[in-house]
Amino acid sequence: MSNDTRYEVVVVGAGPGGIAAACCAAESGKSVAVIDENAVAGGQFWRGGLSQYGTRQASQWLKRSQAVSIDWLENARVVALRSPDTLAVCRTDSEDVRTVRFGRLILATGARELFLPFPGWTIPGVTGVGALQALTKSGLDIHGKRVVIAGSGPLLPVVALNLKQYGADVLLVAEQAPEDRVGRFAASVGEQYSTDTWVERVSSNGDGELAVDIRQSGDSIRVQCELLACAYGLVPNSELASLIGCRVRPDATIEVDAQQSTSSAGVYAVGEVTGVGGANAAIMEGQVAGYAASGNTEALEPVLAQRDRVREITERTYAAYALREEIFRLAEDDTIICRCEDVALGSLLSFAAGRTAKLQTRCGMGPCQGRICGPITTRLFGWSSGSVRLPGSPVSLGQLAALGDR
């Protein structure tokens, strides 16, 4: 077990929100560490590292981050609070563990994709939307592959364009929201973008070919493809916040005040984990938290108003993607809800509360600890996600033993 270095500000998550927060705290003269489970800082937006992206925004933050002293703890996952001011950290590429002490803590843990069940959603060839993009960026060859992208949100057209650049044959981008709300996104993708459209079912004929049944403006059509990427927006990664004791809303977003403070003293939260969509908002929130956590009121003042403006724009954008009722009624009795424990919809229907169902069927008790099915059962049955149990993500027994060893 290595030493527990103390930093005045510790940031968990090195996405746009975390990077901005860390820079602002370091520029304010604080000792800063950023902890992220990936090999390179960047998060979902700058996956693979800032230097890979030619945008003005990316180069600006690359420059700012290089101009100050920040300790980047990479391949490192925060699994729990070890004591009130100490994080328990596990390496993701070795069995090493360490602790990190903090004065102030900024949670910038981002979000994951929201999956909603329909018959066939768990068969091979069906992935998440951001997940397919990430796979492609890390080397999956999709050249010439026929792809259907479905679900909801601004990520759909972004990923569609991106996959096209990699040579994919994007047959259809199915957005469940109505045209009058999101129509302007259609232009960027072209004729394949279709609103009022959603996947009802998918089946496989065995040799890598998927048959996707789609409802499009009231009609049923069938599209044959090789890959179906489907996601309905994002769910905040707020498990760590719950373990720490921050107040988290039923939709899993962390409650924050105007200065990005959570309900726990000295703990801030920024970016997608607070429910605010998009990298721009994450960056603005990161700056607010970075300055606020450093007590840099002079720098804080101007970014507050900027953040509010960006928030307002993104909130308006995201409101357009409210999910329609039909999406929640697609699963059938034998449709899997909990992938880890193979629990189907039918076996959950007789339970009134999430905890009973969990205990009796093990729904949500597998290795992912309900990260996938928790948001589903919340939306389908109104079950609360319940208390988060330690560790925040799976750690080896060896690491668990070592973490208490102090």
Binding site: S83, T356, G366, P394, S396, L397, G398, L400, A401
Partner: protein
Amino acid sequence: MSDTRAHIVILGAGIVGSACADVFVSDGLRVTLIDRSFPGSGATAEGMGHIVAMDGSPEELALSSYSRELWHSLSGSLSSSCEYRRFGTIWIAANDRHMSAVAAKHRVYDAIGIESHILDPAQLYRQEPNLRPGLAGGLLVPDDVVVYPPAVARELVDRAVARGAAAIFGVDVVRVDGPTVYLADRQEITGDVIINALGIGAPRISPHVPVRPRRGHLVITERVPAFVHHQLVELGYLDSAHGTSPVSVAFNVQPRATGQLLIGSSREFDVENSTVDWEILSRMVRLAVDYLPNARSLDAIRAWTGFRPASADGLPYIGPDPYNENVWLATGHEGLGITTALGTAHLLLDQLRGRSTAIPAEPYWPARILEESRGER
């Protein structure tokens, strides 16, 4: 109880109350079962589900081995969700001192007809290749069982209800006065006999009954089928279970029907909060990976704590409450309540019916403790 249709009100639908409901209804009694939550949601949901012949004392062994037989008989009617597996137990001897304890334990089991086999090191490693080298041997008890307790509780309740038991769930029991049970929603239920099977909640209704919560930690791993084949317990376990030290930890690893490992166990008195304690958790896990070095790289997916209802002397309270002629107690089962729930239910039934019991019932009568404490006042 000559009135065959007497009305029994059971407070608490943990494994103990659920077993009572099932057994009483089968014998023709009228039953009302009450719980503030749902069946099996208390200690029954938090524990390990090891059905074990435990020889901490002759009385403990009598009740646990009687109960174990009842589990064997019940098994045929349990659905697969109960995950009943006759995995057996291996008591592990780390050294020669433990090995002589193995021999003694073997004799104890033998004397009451419980099958067990002394294992030399070669036999031990044939059974459990993942154990660390250098152990002295062990004692295999093949007929010990593992179940998934909350599913059993639910099933026993469903069966009882299907045969006419009334169930009131989601309401707190507030107090008992004479033959009447008062619920938080102002219902009043009157019974011929009231069974207090409220686990650690028992003293709320019967304040004179000494039941202390004894906290335990558990960790469950990812699925690793056939990593171990028996419940593995170190011989030092009994010291831990029966000792009085404020914190004790013992090696205790259970194979689940799912292929997961459930790792225990710790014991602490006088802690009320359910927050996982890192010190204790890691002591427990270190002991587990010390015995099973290859488990080091297995992922732990969840850790939690639970509270055993501990009695004053290590034996459960089963029998009439000397303070209230309408109430019978069925609590204080500590770390053995899954095992002993069935024996508890049958002992109560036979006594209520005025029949002779399969094992002597007096050792478990609450009077042994309560009369004493009454005298002290």
